[in-house]
């Protein structure tokens, strides 16, 4: 039974949070969906309902890339960087499996591997553009001093040709790996340490190799964690933007822009708010479907213990 006294506590406790969250987060999100059906310059309150026209335009630009904003190219960058995200998850898992064996200095590994995750993205960008600077940067000087002059490349160049994409985009991918391993390592480490020791001990006694124990026992038992992580990677695949934006100059770069950069340019440079909202809604819908598919696809009768 709820007494009046309890309501006197419940309402004032919930009200401030509910109010701020509703006004500044929920309402704008819903409104974002709403304005994606309008033509709206933002200068006036004049909004013209145009139905699905914004989405039709997005679809058209996908199939017939314009010269200045090449949506299909941006999407291909996103797709390319997903490979690096998956590599990050994989390497995080490997690092966790190794560190779980408590090699010498494992505590130092744990602390340093995670450190990039507490840096702001612009900080990561600054750090690496200094480290990769062609003239005084750490990396190229190191390569020169060991006689690998030919590998001292302009790492952040968006002109330098590599297979499929420019070198700069590869570098973005590697910086992403560098910045992300620690997070996945901590997640998987927790999962691995939750696996009951009796299982692995028994297998060890039976003479199974470490690799085989990991593959046959540990991996199935941490599958749920891996699945969750992969779903989150799917969600993140279209929402990247800031790293290339800060790393390269702050304008359309074409060879490093991601789909969310396109949204940014349309919204905050062209002020075509309705279309920008449609881009975002499109990204959201695709992400939602992809993550739901990933969740289903990765469903494996997980082992209970």
């Amino acid at each position: 039974m709820l007494r009046r006294e309890q309501w006197k506590l419940i309402i004032p406790f919930l009200a401030p949070g509910l109010l701020i969250y509703t006004v500044f987060s929920v309402y704008p999100s819903l409104r974002g969906i709403y304005i994606s059906f309008f033509r709206w310059s933002g200068l006036t309150s004049n909004m013209t309902f145009i139905g699905m026209d914004n989405f039709a335009r997005l679809w058209r630009e996908l199939s017939d890339p314009a010269d200045f904003y090449n949506v299909r190219l941006y999407l291909s960058h996103n797709a390319f960087l997903v490979i690096f995200s998956l590599a990050t998850v994989f390497l995080g898992l490997v690092a966790a499996a190794l560190i779980a064996e408590k090699p010498r200095g494992y505590k130092a590994f744990r602390v340093t591997f995670f450190f990039p995750n507490v840096l702001a993205l612009p900080a990561i960008a600054v750090l690496w553009s200094m480290t990769l600077n062609p003239s005084f940067g750490l990396v190229n000087n190191a390569l020169r001093s060991v006689g690998l002059e030919q590998f001292a490349l302009p790492w952040l160049s968006l002109q330098y040709e590599m297979p499929f994409f420019k070198l700069g985009l590869y570098t973005v991918g590697f910086i992403g790996i560098w910045g992300g391993i620690g997070w996945f390592m901590i997640l998987f480490l927790a999962a691995i340490q939750n696996v009951p020791a009796e299982y692995t001990e028994a297998a060890t006694v039976d003479g199974a190799s470490k690799l085989r124990i990991f593959w046959v026992i540990t991996l199935p038992l941490i599958w749920e964690t891996l699945r969750t992580v992969l779903v989150f990677v799917t969600i993140g695949m279209l929402s990247g933007f800031a790293l290339p934006y800060v790393l390269f100059e702050r304008m359309p770069q074409k060879h490093a822009d991601l789909i969310l950069s396109y949204y940014y340019f349309v919204a905050f440079r062209e002020r075509n708010w309705g279309y920008a909202a449609a881009i975002v809604v499109g990204i959201f819908v695709v992400t939602f479907i992809a993550s739901a598919l990933a969740y289903r696809f990765l469903d494996r009768d997980s082992v209970q213990y």
Partner: protein
């Protein structure tokens, strides 16, 4: 050396005879080599994290010519002037001040509103409890960029655009869902007996919250506070969209400016120094609260 059997056998119960010892794969040569290689890779990655940071600190104490002539060496004469220049010419002090201010207020605001809401959601059953809980949690699934444009106009019409107050309010809204999610599950674990005992003693429901429940929740509050602090401290996108006056910009924007100016700058030493200044708070927080962070991720992963 080569502690080949590692943790697994250390914890093996003593009553079980370790029979086929020859079957231990670590004792074979390829396995040993593999283990060495794996360890080498771990060290290599550690170097890629530590070395650039150390190099940045050294570089911040060099003069510009020295930076180009001996990028590897220690600074011949530490150029403390770089730090003075960074502080005065690159506005490092202003950005730092703004970040501290915004983080302090946003952290207080999100912790207060979050803890209050999470508390009643965790400890009181009333009609609509689950609905409100899921309403909050839904915010964790919705990407922030969906709200950016309408929120920008909302801030404009409320006169919050390009103000620190606007940042504080928006950050509260952004980071509230995770705070409620985390604290709700934490408050649920607290024992009911203490609460009841306090009420029997004549304490009001408010007193129970402030004097009994909050002190019991210190560790949970601290963990989520560290998370929220870093989220606010590092937030970049919303600040980028809404702030245009240089005197109220936060550190991440200052860093981005640094990056942009790097292309035309000549005073490289001061740039490195500015970077170091901006990084020090993060470094200190990490050094103190590193365990809290990893613990928070672990809890989040298990619950989520």
């Amino acid at each position: 050396m080569m502690n080949t059997t590692t943790a697994t056998t250390e914890t093996t119960s003593t009553n079980r005879p370790v029979s086929r010892k020859a079957g231990f794969a670590w004792s074979t040569l390829p396995a040993r080599l593999g283990w060495w290689l794996a360890q080498a890779l771990l060290w290599l990655f550690m170097i890629t994290v530590v070395f650039p940071m150390v190099w940045t600190v050294f570089s911040s104490l060099k003069s510009s010519p020295e930076l180009f002539n001996s990028p590897w060496g220690l600074p011949a004469v530490p150029q403390w002037q770089n730090y003075v220049n960074a502080w005065t010419k690159m506005n490092a002090g202003t950005y730092l001040f703004n970040s501290v201010l915004v983080s302090a207020f946003a952290l207080t605001s999100v912790m207060m509103t979050g803890a209050l809401a999470a508390y009643v959601l965790a400890r009181y059953s009333f009609p609509g409890n689950r609905v409100i809980y899921f309403y909050f949690i839904a915010g964790m699934m919705i990407p922030g960029f969906l709200a950016y444009i309408p929120a920008w106009f909302l801030h404009q019409s409320l006169g919050l655009l390009d103000t620190r107050t606007g940042l504080v309010i928006q950050y509260t809204a952004f980071f509230l869902p995770f705070t409620v999610f985390f604290l709700q599950s934490f408050f649920r674990t607290l024992p009911r007996e203490l609460e009841e005992a306090a009420i029997v003693d004549g304490a009001s429901l408010y007193t129970v919250f402030w004097r009994v429940m909050l002190p019991l929740s210190k560790s949970g509050l601290l963990t989520i506070a560290v998370f929220n602090f870093l989220s606010v401290w590092n937030e970049f996108m919303w600040a980028l969209i809404t702030l245009s006056r240089d005197e109220i910009k936060t550190l991440p924007l200052g860093m981005a400016n640094l990056q942009q100016n790097a292309k035309y700058a000549t005073d490289w030493g001061a740039m490195f120094a500015g970077f170091v200044i901006m990084l020090i708070p993060t470094f200190v927080i990490y050094a103190i609260f590193q365990n809290r962070l990893t613990e928070g991720i672990t809890i989040g992963a298990i619950k989520g």
